[in-house]
Symmetry: C2
Subunit: 503 residues, 2 copies
């Protein structure tokens, strides 16, 4: 077998695995949208079986052999080539996958699966003590996993790498700490302003059917392609791809709150446009796959916040919104409405936080989970550490575990290393947007005319079609010329929020 044949063999294997993975994605999408109430047990059996098949294929020794042979082949010599990107990314994943013992994988699955229900109960009953032993066990298992995977500097690196390949805890700590130092006074300054716009209008009656129509219209207008995707309703919004031309976004509507449905849809549409912008002929291969969760989140946040909360965007969309919601919006102007969607208010719950305070929620979680994994914080001390960080960063103290340390699903699901990607996404979004504006020209002028394709095409070329050719840090540097930093995001927040507060 020559190397070209080996490479084709490799791609064939991986594309077949992707057929199973995308089928699992449909099983999960259907579970969140259509599944009859009594069908959940069997659906879990289907998903478990497919997950086993996928794992078997991903850790197949023959796959490892192919990857070893191709790693040293002239075929992958050019690091900028598709072949090099495919082989190096697959090899990195394979080496990690085979290092984690099957028994540990099984224990983690069991612990997180049981852990989910225990967490749900604990949150409902505001009972941290009943969740603590489960969390201890999960932290312990994640430490074992990190040790199995291996790391150079700190244990958390090994977990972070799963969501943000190549990222290092030390770098993330540095950039998020710099962000925190700027964010806290920014939020205090806004809190001290005497000019306080109201967000009352957002809580008027917005009929759900009109919300659906408006959200679909807006997401289509910014560039989400409904010939290659869908928009549906669910409890916990998400975006999933079931094939190269089948990206499904899901949102939830609240008839007495405009933001959750509309900005939820823009957010998921941003994720979806990333998926739709990947090279579809490379589907299933690293060259056709998103770079990292941080880059993924940058796309959702860019469209949700930098585009969707801009006054230029609403110059075009506000008249359309008024047609959809005449009763709620008849006494509003585009300026009053824009002020309402750009208010800042420290709050307890991450998923309800505004754009500015959101990152403080994330930084708190990042620091805590990093210290848990690195053994510097105990599960017992976690609630106190949580509360004191909320006090010092946001000036509020959770009145209960349920509104504090128990609010998120992530830790019960073993998702350690995931949280920081939310803030990395916000940072990348601002840097990408600034570069796009520099290269494309004044985007606001286009938005005000309902034209979003220039921005979309720029993102397609510079971000989406790069797949996993570069790590997120490399991609950011290539696209923007800059290392990741807090500066663009802080500048964006200041320029959009300060005027709203008369600052």
């Amino acid at each position: 077998m020559d190397d070209q044949t080996r490479y084709e063999n490799l791609c064939q294997r991986v594309r077949e695995t992707a057929l199973l993975q995308s089928t699992s994605a449909l099983l999960e999408w259907d579970q969140q949208t259509n599944l009859p109430s009594q069908a959940d047990d069997y659906r879990c059996q289907q998903l478990t079986f497919l997950a086993g098949e996928v794992h078997r294929r991903r850790t197949d020794p023959e796959l490892g052999e192919l990857l070893n042979q191709l790693s040293d082949s002239p075929l992958t010599e050019d690091p900028e080539s598709d072949q090099a990107a495919v082989v190096s990314n697959l090899k990195r994943e394979f080496d990690k996958d085979v290092r984690v013992p099957a028994q540990l994988v099984e224990e983690i699955t069991k612990a997180t699966s049981a852990g989910h229900n225990i967490w749900v109960q604990a949150r409902k009953q505001n009972d941290y003590a009943s969740f603590a032993p489960t969390l201890s066990n999960i932290v312990d298992l994640m430490q074992q996993k990190a040790d199995a995977v291996g790391y150079e500097d700190c244990r958390y690196d090994a977990l972070l790498d799963e969501y943000e390949p190549g990222a290092k805890t030390a770098d993330v700590t540095k950039v998020l700490e710099a962000l925190r130092i700027e964010l806290v006074p920014l939020i205090e300054k806004i809190a001290g302003s005497e000019n306080r716009p109201s967000s009352e209008v957002l809580h008027r009656n917005f009929p759900v059917d009109a919300q659906k129509a408006f959200a679909k219209y807006a997401s289509e207008q910014i560039g989400f392609d409904y010939a290659r995707g869908r928009l549906d309703e669910t409890h916990h919004p998400f975006c999933t791809e079931i094939g190269p031309n089948d990206c499904r976004i899901l949102t939830r509507y609240d008839s007495s709150f405009f933001n959750s449905g509309f900005f939820g849809t823009l957010h998921e549409a941003g994720h979806g446009m990333y998926e739709q912008g990947l090279r579809s002929d490379q589907y299933g291969l690293p060259t056709g796959k998103y770079c990292s969760l941080g880059i993924h989140e940058s796309q959702s946040r860019l469209w949700e916040n930098l585009v969707g909360r801009s006054s230029a965007f609403w110059k075009f969309f506000f008249p359309v919104a008024q047609q959809h919601f005449p009763d709620a919006l008849n006494d509003q102007t585009v300026d009053s409405f824009c002020a309402s969607i750009n208010t800042v208010q420290p709050s307890l719950i991450r998923v309800e936080a505004d754009e500015a305070t959101y990152n403080l929620h994330i930084i708190i979680r990042f620091e805590l989970e990093r210290d848990l994994i690195d053994g510097k914080l105990s599960v017992e001390d976690l609630p106190d550490a949580w509360n004191s960080k909320y006090e010092s960063s946001l000036g509020i103290t959770p009145p209960s575990f349920s509104d504090g340390v128990l609010q998120d699903v992530h830790w019960s699901a073993g998702l350690f290393g995931y949280f920081p990607t939310y803030s990395l996404g916000n940072l990348y979004a601002s840097q990408f947007f600034a570069s796009a504006e520099k290269e494309v020209g004044d985007l606001g002028v286009l938005f005000a005319k309902g034209e979003f394709s220039d921005l979309k095409l720029w993102l397609n070329d510079h971000v989406h079609r790069q797949g996993q050719k570069y790590s997120s840090a490399q991609l950011g540097k290539r696209v923007t010329g800059l290392d990741l930093s807090h500066e663009s995001l802080i500048a964006d927040l200041q320029s959009r929020l300060y005027p709203v507060y008369g600052l």
Copy 2:
């Protein structure tokens, strides 16, 4: 390994295959309901890959060895035991599967996949000649398949066996010929009646939302369990099961024709209640699987026609229908409405045919496809044969190929042996219904009060929970004490249709 362990190993393998098959069913359901327009290619790749995995598992030599060992084991000695039913049915399927060469399977897949589009075009353009070579090829491949599978009496037996295991062409010919002989004069007698009820009311305006609500209400009332199923819309109604507690029925609504949505839903709900009535702990095994397509169709036809077109049924449902469709039904009585839904009119198109003439459409197709496979009729002579049978049986001649020989999808899909199961289903339905009435008591009295559970429970016990323990002929005999015959169906048609026509 002892036989008990072998048996568990066997069941485990087959249940795993069922996980893949039910996953394919979801991919197909989603294809008919939700798939974005550009996603079809990849969906076909997913389905083809899973079909390959399923085929590999079903023809695995280790499976064959287990089946051979278990066939001779004391574990399967009692022919009434679950173990015997599981092993004998799986062995029958395995022996058939391995006899068909992989290359032939592939050729059939290719020919029918291409054949579908050629048929669609030919029907659209009323061009039989453009479809004839494709059909010749498919007939040839099906003959090869029949020869590979093997048969005793005639080649068509081998294909019929796939849909109606154990059935023989000679027996089916006999019972359908007897049916034809009684049906033709029955329909002529009705056609000659001077008392002609109108079906005009069925073509009034029936708003689709009200149709959906009414169809869902009625299907739930007769016993379809929505905690274990769904009702959705599609172009070509069907019923599919995606797990033991996930049966999905699909129907289509026409705002200017009551029957397609309502009786379509009752029909699919009948199929669905069969699936829901199977032993869910045996899911994936022959003991938890439907007996045959004929028995499946008996359940849909029983609820659609014997229940759903009875005057007792409408005594309960007509006032509810009037609430849903006040404009269309305000000048109707339950008697006038019942007459409308029981009219008989020879027509060209099978899927639009009434209950009486429907079987003639089927008998014609059965005779033609049997003769094609047995080499007694050529594809060239098919249109003439078709037309002359329509003339002699229904007294009408198709004015075009599209309304004649090109109207059905089945032959282009290679579904030879499928058609007769529709009429077998009608015959079984009448026999089952008569037995149920004999054992449960006057069902009409119950229907008029909206009570359908006695009938459903009787069917659960006598038909559904038997799975594949018996062949359809054996099951019919056990349940009704009778061999399959036309008598019950003819009696049902006479007793329901003659009064409508004043006969």
